[in-house]
């Protein structure tokens, strides 16, 4: 009983959720917008936020990088965006998908939805791995190719990902704006209904499956995933300390096996593998060796003495 209690305490996700909540509140703190049904129009909107965060959210203080990317490449005078691509490269090179785990408001919403107790949670299913590649298709087709080539008479492309798919815009932008604004309510049509259906489906799915949007749809996650293995902030496994117990792979909700691929494109740096590791073999690279030892207090956890082999398993 005590052992289970200690394990739960060790795997407590609320410190990370507190950071997520704080960041979400900080970047969506234009509260007057929610009261008036209008959006922030100040200078901060020149800057992109690291996570996916609709700029039509009444509280948003910054721009959504996915929306900004489509806006620039879909404009008549620019067909490539140094500004947004550079921003994504900068953030990705610093921390990779740490953004998904800590700095994305929609990631937080999905994390909280997954906490709702239901009789059965789905960890993985047949075709899961293949479906993970879908986010790269969304990135290529809806964020890059369609805004670039499906243009109007002036040469301007629409933000097709935002328009047809993005449930973040529906939740953060359209729902509050339509609720607060009479003229918006009069303008809703089939597209609004379609996007709400998608949002509701995603919310239901998020209760039984961990972060379905991040796993299968998010184009921003697809971009940052390319930087996971080269980012300045990344994880490492000490092979001398690793006992191959498999605890890290078992605890990972993104179905990463840290022992095999510690900086997998799917890793969102939630840190659960670091916490569960009984020998402190997993560390983040920003830690100095001495800090790493201090960070992994494994005195309460049972320490497997030998690597797992068929012999000592039986």
């Amino acid at each position: 009983m005590d052992k289970k209690k200690n394990k739960n305490k060790k795997l407590n996700e609320w410190p990370r959720h507190r950071v997520q909540i704080l960041w979400a509140l900080l970047t969506n703190s234009y509260l007057i917008g929610f009261a008036r049904g209008k959006i922030y129009t100040g200078k901060l909107k020149n800057l992109c936020l690291p996570g996916i965060n609709c700029y039509s959210c009444p509280g948003a203080l910054g721009s959504c990088p996915v929306g900004a990317l489509q806006a620039v490449i879909g404009s008549w005078n620019f067909k490539f965006t140094f500004y947004v691509a550079g921003f994504l490269m900068f953030v990705g090179a610093l921390m990779g998908r740490f953004v998904c785990g800590f700095l994305c408001p929609f990631g937080l919403i999905q994390d909280l939805l997954y906490k709702i107790p239901v009789p059965k949670k789905i960890k993985t299913f047949r075709g899961d791995r293949l479906l993970r590649r879908l986010k790269y298709v969304f990135l290529l087709v809806f964020v890059i190719l369609l805004p670039l080539f499906l243009v109007d008479i002036l040469g301007q492309g629409a933000p097709y990902f935002c328009k047809l798919i993005c449930p973040v815009g529906t939740l953060e932008g359209s729902v509050p704006l339509v609720l607060l604004n009479q003229s918006m309510r009069n303008a809703v049509g089939w597209l609004y209904a379609w996007k709400n259906v998608l949002l509701i489906a995603l919310i239901i799915l998020s209760v039984i499956l961990y972060r379905p949007f991040c796993k299968y749809i998010c184009p921003l996650g697809a971009i940052y995933s390319a930087f996971n293995s080269v980012a300045i902030f990344r994880y490492q496994v000490n092979p001398e300390k690793c006992t191959h117990c498999g605890a890290c792979a078992k605890v990972c909700k993104m179905q990463v096996n840290p022992e095999k691929q510690i900086n997998s494109p799917e890793c969102i740096r939630c840190g659960q593998c670091k916490k569960i590791c009984p020998t402190g073999a997993i560390t983040s690279k920003l830690h100095t060796p001495s800090a790493s030892h201090g960070a992994h207090d494994n005195s309460e956890a049972p320490l497997p003495q030998q690597p797992r082999t068929p012999e000592n398993d039986s």
Partner: protein
């Protein structure tokens, strides 16, 4: 190449390149496009337009 990608220098180089690209983008006036889009309610983004 693989050695370089594993080193922290890869991350630092990419971050520096990212900053340089942002500078080029600002110089080209891309920030204005982002700003103009972001301060107007994006009807397409919210499923109305």
């Amino acid at each position: 190449m693989k050695q370089f990608l594993r080193s922290r220098a890869a991350g630092i180089s990419l971050a520096a390149l990212g900053l340089l690209m942002m500078g080029i983008g600002i110089f080209r006036g891309e920030m204005t496009v982002v700003f103009t889009k972001a301060i107007n309610i994006c009807l397409e983004c919210i499923g109305i337009g």
